[in-house]
Amino acid sequence: MTTIIFWLLAGFTLAAAVMVVVSRRLMYSAVSLLFTLVGIAGLYIFLWADFIAVVQIVIYVGGITVLILFGIMLTNRIESVNISHDRVQMRYGLIGGSGLLILLLIMIFRTPWQVLPAVEPASTIDVIGRMLLIDYLLPFEVASLLLLAALIGAATLARRKR
């Protein structure tokens, strides 16, 4: 049962991701992105990463997608949507992309991955919290600084020049 759910989820995620790239309407792309992100959150649960899954939903679905939707609405007038010329260099892009994909797949299946046995932890939040505040304290603080800088930078950039 879970196997079927997993494959359905994976297929759904990838299909939504394809839609993000293929869809001609920007709005559809954004909604597909939303689905992709939710699908990835589902995959995280299969990977025993409950905390990351929740963070994924909160940050990506709740934050970034909304931001992107705002961006679309602020920069697109309905009448100016030009459907016919939505893509460039499709051919080369597909060639490059599939070439890279083939290489990655070869790499994935050729490498003898070492998998360590593990049992599912009751909760990961506890350990992640400890790691963030002990082992990764400096990156954690730097990240907060980065967010502050991004906040100020975005506000400065987006402000209309007088």
Binding site: L43, I52, V119, A154
Partner: protein
């Protein structure tokens, strides 16, 4: 679903889809969405390696950092896009080719 390779394949598919999006889309916001896909692919890899590396949660911590970075990046990128829109009255990347001069 209990194989590392499964997740790696999904992640690389996501990565390539995102890459194609970045390269082929004209709209800057669509490009940004491609970047988000790429970042998510990387995140999926982090978490997958954490799961199959004997629950080494460093991978989780790193994916948190990647998300933080993605949030910052999205905010700044959208601010820039809005600025470009004011300047060029378009957000199509190929029309904003001041770099050519």
């Amino acid at each position: 679903m209990d194989h590392l390779q499964t997740y790696l394949v999904i992640a690389s598919l996501l990565f390539v889809i995102g890459l194609v999006g970045v390269i082929t889309r004209r709209n800057a916001i669509a490009v940004l969405m491609g970047v988000e896909l790429i970042l998510n692919a990387a995140n999926l890899n982090f978490v997958a390696f954490a799961r199959f590396g004997g629950i080494n949660l460093s991978g989780h911590v790193f994916s948190v950092f990647v998300m933080i970075m993605a949030a910052a990046e999205a905010a700044v990128a959208l601010a820039i896009i809005i600025n470009i829109y004011h300047l060029f009255h378009t957000v199509n990347v190929d029309e904003a080719d001041e770099l050519k001069q």
